[in-house]
Symmetry: C2
Subunit: 132 residues, 2 copies
Amino acid sequence: MDAHLALAARFEQWAMLGDDPARCPVRNLLDRIGDRWSMLLLAALAGSPRRFSALARAVPDISRRMLTQTLRTLETDGLVHREVEPSVPPRVTYSLTPLGKSFAGPLLALVDWAEAHFGEVEAARARMALAS
Amino acid sequence: MDAHLALAARFEQWAMLGDDPARCPVRNLLDRIGDRWSMLLLAALAGSPRRFSALARAVPDISRRMLTQTLRTLETDGLVHREVEPSVPPRVTYSLTPLGKSFAGPLLALVDWAEAHFGEVEAARARMALAS
DNA sequence: GCCTATAGTCTCTACCAGAGACCAGGTAAA
DNA sequence: TTTACCTGGTCTCTGGTAGAGACTATAGGC
């Protein structure tokens, strides 16, 4: 079965769940990790654990506010582990849990697609800009 | 190579691009389709073309404003094709372009992961709720 | 005459992301 | 001694943006 047909079948199942989107696992998780920063931070942590300021350096355009907030969400969802070393000043290390590592597969698929088809997307944007 | 190591290697490449996130294909596309609605609409269109109001019915909690806006973005990025039938009242049909269909693979990987691991995420949330 | 359906647009408001100041509390340089 | 700096955040203010809901034109059915 083609991927887009399988996807359509899944979508029909979600529709059966009725009017409450939170009960749909996909809606629920998409609302959490489908934002600008979550996937990026998961990718940043894929290689090795990093400390708070190292993450801030790795993703320069995230504000510390959103960095804290996103990491907290990823922690409560069990994707990221937060470890405080009670030294002075305290050092906080973030790492992927096994669940977080299991997300690397789908995320890599997304990244591969983005790199492979970015040219087509740019071409489409250029066409639309000309047409308008 | 494990997926999370491959992901880490990609992430290091992006860091080489310097301070402009828009030049990174992954950042660029994540900022576009990494919102609450884009992936959902792509999934809704995966099975067959749909008209505007059919999409609104398939995704009941999207406002018409966001439906219009998200479809326009997907159209300028070349993922969705918009076809106006000049009848009265006009009928507008949205369908996936070949580029849009090619996105079904990564999207399906994401959906599969969400359905497979949603239980673990809920368990993690319950643990965090108890601990707080 | 009134209601429906079509595919949107417009305005108003509420919320949320981002910017930047601020915090404790120890270390190290001047 | 004063000053600056490091850590990992928190606090407040503001601007942009998402969502709610009213409004549009035109035709067909009752």
